[in-house]
């Protein structure tokens, strides 16, 4: 991947003058980002339906295309030609602005992620901080949608979602910090290179294991996934904060939700499982060389999709929590545990007990 991007870059700068070359690069990157975004939506929704089907001993979508792989494309086309209604009594500006906010947040968070070796849109020195900061903005879009809809279901869903997202962000942030303490950098490329002789999940002992478990629980809640999907609990709130949305506006919320899942799983894979870094033990061993033959993008997407699969698995394993149980879990258990865990991580890093 590194070679491809380098070659394109060199060729552009050799052929055109710098300003035009830069503009062409912008255009290519924009197109790639939108393409990735659309692909993620289609693939993840198809995957969700197939995983659900397998867990419930069904076949899942199998009519459109071989094994139903074009089902989500067909669904998207259908949603595009549907009527986009704006019901009476809604706040028109906020109602239409909410999908924009949710989508922009989901798409901007993709920028600092490293998809393969040397393949990253934006390598900023505050990468992890940027992701945690921006991804929490999506709660504004959700609250906006719920409030603007003028529907009791929507308002309740949005309120629950707001309380839930902000609560779980604390322990997600603290469990991320446990890894940051060990690497000493917020830059995603540096975090990945620090795992050259083993991923943090293997190198970091107890604090990283605890942090990983807390991280997975917290991001499941942050992306409003079952068992924490109170914001759109079908049995009580119809569709939660997007009850009043129809057609493409609804599809945009749906798409943003799946891209958010991808982003948090990619972040988890980067911090704990080494991102694009192949499975390494120590330095310079034969085993490492064999592992290096597998391309870095395969490693990255493999780990990310494994974590996504785990989160989908949760959905069909655990029953939904009540709102007070949900907040108790966070405030009374996860938050103190992750706080102490962070201290443990710093202690271990000072004593140099990690590998």
């Amino acid at each position: 991947m590194q070679n491809i991007t380098d070659n394109i870059h060199d060729w552009l700068y050799a052929t055109f003058n710098p300003t035009i070359a830069m503009l062409i690069e912008f255009a290519i990157i924009g197109a790639l980002a939108i393409g990735l975004f659309a692909m993620l939506g289609l693939v993840l929704i198809y995957m969700e339906r197939k995983v659900s089907a397998v867990m419930q001993l069904r076949l899942g979508p199998n009519r459109v295309g071989p094994k139903g792989i074009f089902q989500t494309t067909a669904d998207t086309l259908k949603l595009i030609v549907k009527e986009g209604m704006t019901p009476n009594g809604v706040d028109k500006l906020l109602f239409n602005l909410a999908p924009f906010i949710v989508m922009i947040v989901a798409m901007v968070v993709l920028a600092p992620l490293m998809f393969a070796k040397g393949f990253q849109i934006w390598d900023i020195n505050i990468g992890v901080f940027f992701i945690t900061a921006v991804s929490s903005l999506s709660v504004i879009g959700i609250l906006m949608a719920g409030w603007a809809s003028n529907n009791k279901y929507s308002l309740l869903g949005a309120m629950r979602s707001g309380a839930q997202i902000v609560s779980y962000e604390l322990s997600a942030g603290l469990s991320i910090l446990a890894v940051i303490v060990l690497t000493g950098s917020l830059k995603l490329s540096e975090i990945i290179t620090s795992q050259e002789n083993g991923w943090w999940i293997f190198k970091g002992h107890l604090p990283v294991w605890i942090a990983f478990i807390i991280f997975i629980i917290a991001v499941t809640a942050e992306t409003n996934r079952a068992p924490f999907d109170l914001a759109e609990a079908e049995s009580e709130l119809t569709a939660g904060f997007h009850t009043e949305y129809s057609g493409m506006k609804f599809a945009l919320f749906f798409l943003a939700e799946y891209v958010n899942i991808f982003v948090v799983c990619a972040l988890g894979a980067t911090l704990f499982l080494g991102g694009w870094m192949p499975l390494h033990f120590g330095t310079g061993t034969k085993f490492n060389e064999v592992m290096d033959y597998i391309p870095s993008s395969v490693w990255f997407f493999g780990k990310t999709f494994f974590l996504i699969f785990v989160i989908m698995w949760f959905r069909w394993t655990f029953p939904r929590l009540r709102i007070d149980q949900l907040l108790n879990l966070e405030w009374k258990y996860l938050l103190p545990i992750s706080m102490i865990n962070l201290l443990l991580a710093t202690f271990i890093a000072i004593m140099k007990w990690h590998f």
């Binding site: 991007t5 380098d6 690069e25 924009g30 790639l32 975004f37 595009i80 549907k82 009527e83 986009g84 209604m85 019901p87 009594g89 999908p99 924009f100 989508m103 798409m107 901007v108 993709l110 920028a111 990253q120 934006w122 900023i124 020195n125 409030w147 809809s149 003028n150 529907n151 009791k152 279901y153 929507s154 308002l155 309740l156 309120m159 629950r160 707001g162 309380a163 902000v166 609560s167 962000e169 604390l170 942030g173 910090l177 940051i180 303490v181 000493g184 950098s185 009043e244 057609g247 493409m248 506006k249 945009l252 907040l327 009374k332 938050l335 706080m339 201290l343 710093t346 890093a349 000072i350």
Partner: protein, 136 residues
Amino acid sequence: MIYLLQEELSKKVMDVNDIASYLPIGIQIVCAAGLVAFLMLVTHLLGPKRKTADKLQSFTSGIESHGDARQPVAIKYFLVAILFVLFDVEVIFFYPYAVNFKGLGWSGFWAVLLFVGFFLCGFIYIIKKGALKWEE
């Protein structure tokens, strides 16, 4: 690729905190907004527009909706939001420490231990005060 582009930019500006190093994110925002606007426009042009009074009612599972939905909600939600603001500030304080703690060594560790001690005092206070009791 912008990653490579950034090197190009950083040759010119040198300073990482310069506004120009945030240019990629600006492009990303423009792309995202453009995509959403495009999709909304397309669906607006392609979709049918048949508005009837029944269809435009807000959905309440078939029951007629009563009154305005924007009623006061339980104070607990706002309490959680306020607590979040307090605790999030504390989490943010940890970021600079986590990045720099190797240089700070033991003295930094004791300082943070003290900080977490204060944090836990406040935490125990709000739990005892019943800020998270939803029953009454």
